[in-house]
């Protein structure tokens, strides 16, 4: 699965000395998120993030990558998902771009409303918003930037 993905760690800028960076193209396959999350989880530990924050970041990254692969690229083998990560002791940033048509996050129905409470899907974006400090989409809606700040 991982053979067609390219992984490289770029050199840190002077502002982020000691930060870990990852830039990777993922195939639009179920399970491809593991290519990112394995390294991300390891580096969260290296940079001293607490287990509750690790859970939050893992959940948000997983939901966002699955959304990009399944809803964005619609599992099209000709499309890729581009992921950039930065992990430092105080800040985690994950940016995910797919090659799909984009979507309007404001149009995602409230999954906590009484009539949607027992609908089995549609919770990913809400979980990303709740468990990260900051989340922004580009205008097209095919790129999401998420940040978690410690404390």
């Amino acid at each position: 699965m991982a053979q067609n993905s390219s992984v490289h760690a770029a050199n840190p800028s002077p502002d982020d000395v000691g930060a870990w960076r990852l830039a990777v193209h993922l195939p639009s396959e179920r399970g491809a998120s593991r290519i990112v999350t394995e390294g991300l989880l390891e580096q969260l530990g290296v940079h001293g993030w607490e287990s509750s924050d690790v859970f939050s970041i893992h959940l948000a990254a997983e939901e966002a990558i699955v959304n990009a692969i399944v809803h964005g690229n619609k599992l099209d083998p000709h499309k890729q998902v581009y992921v950039e990560c930065l992990v430092s002791p105080e800040l985690v940033r994950v940016e995910i771009t797919d090659e799909g048509a984009g979507f309007d996050p404001a149009q995602v129905p409230d999954c906590t409303s009484d009539e949607r409470l027992d609908v089995p899907s549609g919770r990913g974006v809400m979980l990303m918003r709740t468990f990260m400090t900051r989340i922004e989409y580009n205008e097209k809606g095919n790129r999401v930037l998420m940040e978690k700040r410690k404390g």
């Binding site: 179920r30 399970g31 593991r34 287990s51 509750s52 859970f55 939050s56 893992h58 959940l59 997983e62 939901e63 699955v66 999954c111 906590t112 409470l117 027992d118 609908v119 089995p120 899907s121 919770r123 990913g124 809400m126 979980l127 709740t130």
Partner: protein, 117 residues
């Protein structure tokens, strides 16, 4: 008796107790199996009282939550009862922010949950 890969099934009195073989319920292929095995308890085995004991489960994604919601609906439509126990703090937080703690019948420990059937 069907063979299960993702879940471990036992009986305590009339209650079917389900434990999970994965610490992280995450991989989409495994989540599909996870759902199939759970739904089979209701659709194939006709079990009416089911307890999901999440001891040892550290992570689950929204796709796994979806399977739990579908299971809850199946159990209710079969006039059965589904309870959950031993949910670690971070996962309970997910249930709370999604308000699924109002949908699911959640107990602290297995013994307490079984006695509540």
């Amino acid at each position: 008796m069907p063979t299960h890969q993702r879940i471990d099934v036992s009986k305590v009195g009339d209650v079917t107790v389900v434990r999970f073989n994965d610490r992280k319920i995450l991989d989409e292929a495994k989540i599909i199996e996870f759902g199939t095995e759970l739904f089979g308890l209701v659709d194939l085995d006709n079990r009416k009282s089911i307890l999901l004991n999440f001891d040892g489960v550290e992570f689950l994604s929204s796709a796994a939550l979806g399977k739990l919601i579908t299971l809850d609906r199946k159990v209710k439509s079969h006039k059965g009862r589904l309870k959950m126990s031993n949910i670690r703090r971070e996962i309970y937080d997910v249930f709370q922010v999604t308000k699924l703690n109002k949908v699911f019948d959640i107990h602290d420990g297995e013994a307490e949950a079984i006695s509540a059937f």
